[in-house]
Symmetry: C2
Subunit: 627 residues, 2 copies
């Protein structure tokens, strides 16, 4: 427990819960880092697809970013309304299932779960990818670095929501701060130079155009650029984590996040145009990220460049963090509707839903290993889930307003309706433009997940029906069970088992298995001692002598004959329970188990697997003296 305390902090009592809630500035750290750090790869993802257009490409990035920011604003307005309407947490799953029915809810749930897992994988791999392109000799350790960061995040998050919030404030503020400085300085220089600033460290010359602008190219670029919007959903899902007044804190946090993100996206787009910075192919040997080129062009390669790069790396790596708060919360919400195992309902020693964290870490580890920790391969899988969840959530809100007709419901439902249509169209664009690059994986995974959830729900429903008991306790027909004891030799263990049986029931059958194995036997069998050691004293006390049954086992199996005997008895005796007494030697050290056959454990297991309602197991442990 000492090590657990050191790693994860002391256990927290349920009554300590309120202390774990956060204000809006801490909320910016926890819920904002995912959305904000998207600025580091969203514009670049769009620009990569514009490389074939040469210099023409960087003229398109500003309108592209403006389009994305308009979409972002629509989504923002929608979610502001959602937070107010669902102050106890209005994640897409909840909103969709509340308003659109169970099927839509499950669709949203599976989309979101996949999304959170990919958020972790993409953010970590993007962070490591940036680190690796800055320090190329770390390249061969990409996957190991990804997994190490994942481990670190897991440890931090296992400490609970407040502590980890604090840990993430600094990187978020540093990331936003350094980028804002770059943007302000860059724009100032541009204004001072009359719109033609001189780059301190010039970016590589843009390649010659090899293609012309097509709608298809623009769509693909837009679809990639939309990854800049990932992470917006987090706040509405996590309203409960905020300190009172909850709704206000949450909406304030969301406003800050969206404003900062819009500023960053516009700023980056404008600087790209002013300083002639485009994306470089990730395969090129002297690869630099867009942010690296921009910072170098505006500020030169001094200490501020390295500070900015460190901030970008930290923010990208830590952008996986909100998923550690969201995924367990989502899993809990789904599980509370019986669509996921109830284990996700339990809260661990630090008041968080630890099993959700385990699941997230397990699944993102698999994803990281499968895709080798390479961001490029993950991005196409990513946006589908996000926009599917956006669409369902906002469509759900439209229904919500129409059903409740609270003041202003028409205005509200128009806002959400526009949001739903816009994100729905974007979803289609992403699906079509990215289908063959990896979106198909998500398209297959979502129905699979839904299937799992339906099967889980069906199981819980059946268990509930089968075990529900509306009638009071039946007190009639209480008859002691028939007791079966497998015995080998007369010993103190045997005596303990027999004495217990005698307390319980007058009907006892001792079973001895005769294996005929000349080598295996040692000492005398119970049959030789039966009369003197057991039958005689019982008769003397006027008690009923148990029946002794000797089972022959030509193939030297010991457990099967006992099992067969019990099953046969059970068939013959109607309405009678059979309790099998299993004497068991408990050793003092684990290695001593190697010295004793594990028949007691095997028998318990066999009885459980092949038994039925009327067969019970009573374990009589015999403890060797500690010494």
């Amino acid at each position: 427990m000492q090590i657990l305390d050191l790693l994860f902090g002391k256990p927290l009592a349920s009554s300590e819960e309120r202390a774990e809630q956060i204000g809006s500035s801490a909320g910016l750290g926890i819920f904002g880092i995912d959305a904000l750090s998207s600025a580091a790869y969203g514009p670049e993802a769009a620009l990569v697809l514009l490389i074939p257009l040469g210099v023409g490409g960087i003229h398109l990035i500003l309108p592209m970013m403006i389009a994305i920011i308009i979409l972002l604003t629509l989504v923002y307005l929608s979610y502001r309304q959602t937070i107010a309407a669902y102050p106890r947490g209005g994640g897409s799953f909840f909103v969709a299932s509340d308003n659109l029915g169970t099927s839509a809810g499950l669709l949203a749930a599976s989309a979101l779960m996949i999304d959170y897992i990919l958020t972790v994988a993409v953010s970590i791999s993007a962070g490591v990818g940036a680190l690796v392109s800055a320090l190329p000799n770390l390249q061969e350790h990409t996957l190991a670095l990804c997994l190490a960061i994942l481990l670190l995040l897991t440890l931090i998050n296992m400490r609970g929501v407040r502590d980890s919030g604090v840990a993430f404030l600094i990187p978020t503020y540093l990331f936003v701060g350094t980028l804002l400085v770059v943007i302000v300085v860059g724009l100032t220089k541009a204004v001072l130079s009359g719109g033609h600033p001189h780059a301190v460290a010039a970016a590589p010359v843009l390649p010659v155009a090899t293609e012309t602008i097509t709608i298809w190219l623009l769509l693909k670029s837009f679809a990639s650029g939309c990854t800049a919007m990932t992470g917006i959903e987090a706040v509405s899902d996590g309203v409960l984590a905020f300190r009172e007044p909850r709704v206000r804190s949450a909406r304030h946090t969301l406003t800050m996040i969206v404003t900062l993100l819009a500023v960053l996206l516009i700023g980056i787009a404008v600087l790209c145009r002013l300083y002639h910075v485009g994306a470089m192919s990730p395969d090129s040997p002297a690869y630099q990220s867009v942010l690296s080129q921009l910072t170098a062009a505006v500020m030169g390669r001094g200490w501020f460049y390295y500070l900015t790069m460190i901030a970008v790396l930290a923010a990208l790596s830590l952008a996986a963090n909100p998923a550690f708060a969201d995924f367990p919360r989502l899993a809990k919400n789904i599980a509370s509707h019986n669509f996921l195992p109830h284990v996700f309902l339990l809260r661990g020693r630090r008041l968080l839903h630890s099993h959700g964290i385990y699941a997230l870490v397990f699944l993102s580890t698999i994803i990281l290993i499968l895709f080798g920790g390479i961001t490029d391969r993950l991005i196409p899988l990513y946006a589908v889930g996000v926009f599917l969840a956006f669409t369902l959530s906002q469509a759900g809100m439209v229904i919500h307003w129409r059903r409740h007709r609270t003041p202003g419901w028409i205005r509200h439902s128009i806002v959400n309706g526009i949001g739903a249509v816009a994100t729905g169209i974007t979803l289609l664009v992403v699906l079509v433009a990215k289908f063959d690059e990896g979106a198909w994986v998500t398209v297959i995974l979502i129905p699979l997940l839904i299937l799992v959830m339906v099967v889980v729900r069906r199981h819980y429903d059946r268990v509930a029906v089968e075990t529900a008991n509306l009638a009071p306790l039946r007190v009639e027909n209480l008859r002691p069970p028939l007791i079966v004891i497998p015995l080998d030799r007369w010993s103190r263990i045997t005596e303990k088992a027999l004495r217990f049986a005698l307390c319980m029931s007058p009907d006892i059958i001792a079973v001895h298995v005769e294996t005929e194995d000349r080598d295996g036997t040692e000492g005398t069998s119970i049959c030789e001692d039966w009369e003197n050691q057991i039958a005689a004293p019982l008769r003397a006390a006027g008690m009923k002598v148990p029946q002794l049954v000797n089972l022959h086992s030509p193939y030297r199996f010991v457990l099967s004959p006992v099992m067969e005997f019990v099953l046969e008895k059970e068939k013959k005796l109607e309405n009678r329970q059979i309790a099998v007494l299993v004497p068991e030697l408990v050793v003092r050290h684990w290695w001593e188990n190697l010295l004793h056959n594990q028949r007691a454990n095997l028998l318990k297991l066999m009885l459980l697997l092949r038994g039925n309602q009327r067969i019970l197991v009573i374990n009589i442990p015999w403890y060797l003296q500690r010494g």
Copy 2:
């Protein structure tokens, strides 16, 4: 079971045992292949050390082999007597512990166990080594080939002793047959050519002498050559496997083996001298084994050469086989004296001691992996165990004769005495000459194994003392236990558990753990239903109502409070047993376990680990309907 039957044969009843015994010609296959195949590496191991002497070396090999054959004859005469004196199997372990006491027996036992493991490793690696030097492009797969052959041997041996005996007759006879043909043809050619035969395919020219003869060199060469004697012990250990008349069959088999081995050793030595064949360094690129050079020189590189090489490869690979019969038998013998886990006493479905085979395969796999399947590295570890066992066995026989004084005891004890002295001196030579090359590993391992055996024996002795029960059953003070039932909600599972408790004892405590976790709870707790569903009907029937205890758990742990409650009760109640009823849901498919908390299993485990003599566990399974 179908697959098991196909791989290992149908299970055999204990009564089918006699049919599994063998005659002397099958015995030659089973017990002879190890000893006979030593001819393939023994002379070569001696010759390798004589390389620095150049042509002078091959003049020394004949006297060297004669010395080894004299030693072999002494050992043979000793073991002939052992077989007669111990017709139920006179392995070194048995003879040494019977006559020299337990310590000597354990020394012999551990020496032999190590020896058998090394036999498997050395034989397989030598076979693969030969194959690899014939087909150099297999070199990189050495270890994989070793493990594949080990797997094949395991499968063959799991079928039981007779089947595998037949499987090994052909390679043994082929190996001996082809080598005898080479020797006879080679000698005939030499006689016809007046002592100066012409080699069909001349062996590589021997290197120039770089050293002169020293005693130390001769000793090292002799110590290596003694590996030609490994495997002689097998017959005396396995007398029981022979058909009646056992002693005669076993002695006959031993005579055949030793005679053939002597002929092979002498023949190889003479041919080496006549055809100027010496060993080549195993590192040299065009490496050929001595047998390969000899066969090529006498017969040319035609089909007979390849047949001989195949026979050598097969014999070497399969020479591991006797260890599969010997090791489990030895482990059984040691275990029957309580020095090894009793699991080695059990006989498997095919009447063999399967666990001995598992242990042998496991340990030799480790050895093969550690040493990369390279024979050269294993040889120095090998001879120590063999000669230690020889010496102890024969010294034991001397005592045996002196104690029993059967007719001819003086003659017998002189024969065994000479054997003991000769093998004892050889043991010293091997230890000194090979210590720094690897014999030290064995010197460390033997005491370690003895330590393990002593600890095991001490454990069994203590268990026997603690559980032994000489008194008859005590029938006084039989009082039903106090029953503790952890309950959560009112259900049919709860009802079943309560009804069982009511049959057993009037003293029942229902325990409910209150975790205060708003999210985790669902439905009503047992406390709300207690009065109506449980207490009222019991009162109506005039029965005692169980006590309901509500345990508060601020840290949301569920099992610990129950465990603490039980331990506390146990402390308060003297001389009273406490039975903890654990209701458990048994699902129909394994994956459904993921959907239910495993508290029942954890509680059972905690009760077992932290419990004591007065705490029992009663498992009340609830089976979901099969459907």
